[in-house]
Amino acid sequence: MTESVVTHPDNHEPAEFTLALLDWLPWLAPPAEAALTERQRASLVDAARSKSAYFRLLARDPDILEARTRTDKDIFYNTSSGLPRAERELAAAATSRHNGCIYCASVHARHAITYSKRPEDVRRLLDAGVSADLGERWNAIVAAAVALAATPIAFGPEHVTRLRAAELDDADIVDVINGAAFFNWANRLMLSLGEPVQVG
């Protein structure tokens, strides 16, 4: 039998970038929490994610969900070396702003503020977009993320030179590349499998 999408005709999608907490409604039916198999539960990595429609929907293919989640966590949370967490979150927020993922941008803009304590700059990134002046070091990271988000990819030696001039070493630059590249993955799932919804 052909399956059907789930629509949310009463939802008014947020129409601007925001720091507010958003929720997300799936367009395909996720498995019910009680119906998750053991393999699907394991693929969520964090048990609490069984409450999330997004992660339950992705658990339909548990092997790729688990590898995706572990890749995500290590790129962003492993600060044993490389770029400070704040600037990884900046790369994620800038990528999401440029690709147009209002949901992802809200989450990672909040994280960027938490770790950088620079709420005005992060707010300016959301409001004015990726050309906002955030100071040269952040501008260099945003410009690299924007060039990586382009298809075909526009990232070139000039971006590396600018990042080095802003005192990022090669391990830091690898983290910019991985953080920005990863959000091209995350944005496409969030944008194409459901829609954001305002909370409260």
């Binding site: 992705l58 690709n99 990586l148 382009a150 090669d170 799932l189 194409s192 499998l193």
Partner: protein, 201 residues
């Protein structure tokens, strides 16, 4: 597993080179990116998406990114699924027809509408549809949208896939595959540039 690391292969990173050593400092990132590749292209069970569909979609995605070295890698995977010559030719012509510059697309109506960027809405050429088959023809239109203008995504687009015989789970797999490649291709392309512009000590 001792299988070659695909991102290193696609980025041209040699073992023990300075960038390989930087990547080695984050073994989980390396291993899980590789595990992601294997989950999509060496699945224990192909489930709702055949290996040929997976490699055809990947060849299309890499081609749309104009990364010849990466498209060649996935085209070699496609060859292992024994496609007809006509199939391979049609796919390669569709890559040329589908080329665009992204990201573009429209926002929900409002303040952000000023940032809407127009761009092509792609569909497989009529003359290639029979050899590519209905499922892949419909999937390629979706893949093109995911690559170039994901903010135009909609529930209606997913319904089109369902109507062409894709299952809910198959759509999740296809979406993960395209989205993963958007990551992998950027990681490899970025690392390749970084390796080529290393500081002379």
């Amino acid at each position: 597993m001792s299988d070659p690391d695909v991102i290193d292969t696609l980025a041209g990173i040699e073992p023990d080179s300075p960038l390989a050593l930087i990547r080695d400092r984050k073994p989980v990132t390396r291993q899980q990116a590789q595990a992601s590749y294997r989950a999509l292209f060496e699945p224990a069970e192909p489930g709702d998406v055949t290996l040929q569909e997976r490699f055809a979609a990947a060849t299309f995605v890499a081609g749309l990114h104009a990364r010849d070295e990466i498209a060649a890698f996935y085209a070699a995977g496609l060859r292992r699924t024994a496609p007809s010559e006509d199939f391979v030719t049609a796919l390669s012509k569709e890559i040329a027809l589908g080329r665009a510059v992204g990201p573009y697309g429209a926002y929900p109506k409002g303040k952000l509408s000023a940032e809407d960027v127009a761009g092509p809405v792609y569909d497989v050429a009529e003359r290639h549809r029979t050899v590519l088959g209905t499922r892949l023809t419909v999937a390629m239109a979706h893949v093109h949208m995911l690559v170039f203008h994901p903010r135009d995504a909609s529930a209606a687009a997913l319904q089109t896939l369902l109507d062409a015989g894709w299952s809910n789970t198959g759509i999740v797999t296809l979406s993960q595959l395209v989205a993963f490649l958007a990551f992998q291709i950027r990681a490899a392309a970025g690392l390749r540039i970084l390796a080529a512009t290393r500081n002379v000590p």
